[in-house]
């Protein structure tokens, strides 16, 4: 079996690392966005959705 400089194994590993990186980036952005929404609602003296219920 010839050994190529880049085997399919490396391509799969790259796709996994790239995908995970993008997911983590999106997760960080999501947390940031959620924090902004929650904090701005708190400032306005109201809570989003069902949290306002006792």
């Amino acid at each position: 079996m010839p050994i190529h400089p880049e085997h399919e194994l490396h391509a799969r590993r790259r796709s996994r690392n790239l995908g995970l990186g993008l997911v983590l980036g999106a997760f960080a952005a999501l947390i940031f966005g959620l924090s902004i929404v929650k904090i701005s609602h708190l400032r306005e003296g109201k809570l989003p959705a069902a949290e306002a219920r006792p």
């Binding site: 079996m1 050994i3 085997h7 399919e8 194994l9 391509a11 799969r12 590993r13 796709s15 996994r16 790239l18 995908g19 995970l20 999501l30 966005g33 959620l34 929404v37 609602h41 989003p48 959705a49 069902a50 949290e51 219920r53």
Partner: protein
């Protein structure tokens, strides 16, 4: 293990899964149903939700559904290897290790429930946790291999998402969310039994006690008809509830009439006729069952949109 030892003689890199393999573990097609029904449950609820909170909540409900899918694939890897329909899934195909699927399922289950609690409320988060438990433990581990009622009771797991969506907005349960649950719960058996009719050898080879295996195919056809008839009153009741209206009622009448007609045709068919046309009617009924659910929940969405313009609703 060195990199080269991970490569077998065919050049296949065993154990080195690509990102897509992990996505496949989450059963994206099932997730699309979870996303859609949860979104409808959230939107038709009487309490408005901030769009970003709604987006985040739906995302983590979908992720929770995906996590339960990964746990299902981990536990069912042995029977997935036997069934033609599932043999190419990441674990039986050797692309993902069983332990990795379990770790991913558990990690995403915890993450999705905690994040839903933080984003929306802890009632919805607890409901999501119960749904994951129900699908992974009650259905996959307990019922699937032990009773032909597996699909009937296990179908509850797939019916919970609109209730979770409703709980995100309202923080509770109501008659409307229970009717959305009932619609999917009663729809699930005919949907899966139609699949079992034309995937005829898969379940018996795997030793899964589907109704087709334990009670025969003629009995399965009769069961499909009975459940389809019992489904109709729930669909009409949902249309007459506060989330319904003329659009939902019209959709319910047309869709259920067509669904019952399809089930009647299945019940009247024998195996010889089905084999002669390669299960064309069964496959058509299965495809229509998918459209049935999407159109029904789509009608709820249309009705809700119309109320914003002073139209729709009762």
């Amino acid at each position: 293990m060195s990199e080269l030892s991970a490569i077998d003689h065919s050049g296949h890199a065993g154990g080195e899964a690509g990102f897509g393999d992990y996505v496949q573990l989450l059963k994206p097609r099932v997730m699309s149903l979870v996303v859609f029904t949860a979104m409808v449950g959230l939107i038709v609820a009487p309490v408005p939700v901030h769009p970003f909170v709604a987006f985040t909540a739906i995302l983590f409900i979908a992720l929770g559904g995906g996590a339960s899918g990964a746990l299902n694939m981990w536990y069912d890897a042995d029977i997935d290897r036997v069934m033609r329909r599932t043999a190419s899934r990441p674990i039986p195909a050797g692309r993902v290790a069983e332990g990795d699927a379990l770790a991913l399922g558990v990690a995403l289950s915890v993450l999705s429930c905690v994040m839903l609690g933080l984003a929306a409320n802890w009632f919805a988060a607890g409901f999501l946790a119960f749904t994951i438990f129900f699908y992974a433990v009650v259905y996959t581990i307990w019922l699937k291999r032990s009773t032909p009622q597996n699909i009937v009771i296990g179908g509850a797991a797939g019916a919970f998402p609109p209730m979770i969506g409703w709980a995100v907005a309202t923080g509770g349960v109501s008659m409307e969310s229970l009717l959305m649950f009932a619609l999917i719960f009663m729809w699930t058996p005919p949907h899966f039994w139609a699949l079992a009719l034309f995937m005829k050898d898969d379940y018996s080879k795997a030793g899964v006690p589907m109704l087709t295996v334990t009670h025969g195919r003629a009995a399965t056809r009769r069961h499909i008809l009975v459940y389809t008839v019992l489904l109709a009153p729930f669909a009409v009741a949902l249309a007459l509830s506060s989330v319904g209206g003329p659009v939902v009622l019209a959709a319910a009448i047309v869709l259920n009439a067509l669904f019952i007609r399809g089930a009647w045709r299945l019940a009247r068919r024998g195996e010889a006729a089905a084999e002669a046309d390669r299960y064309r009617t069964e496959k058509a009924f299965f495809r229509f069952s998918l459209a049935y659910l999407f159109l029904h929940f789509g009608a709820l969405l249309v009705e809700r949109s119309l109320t914003a313009f002073g139209l729709g609703g009762w």
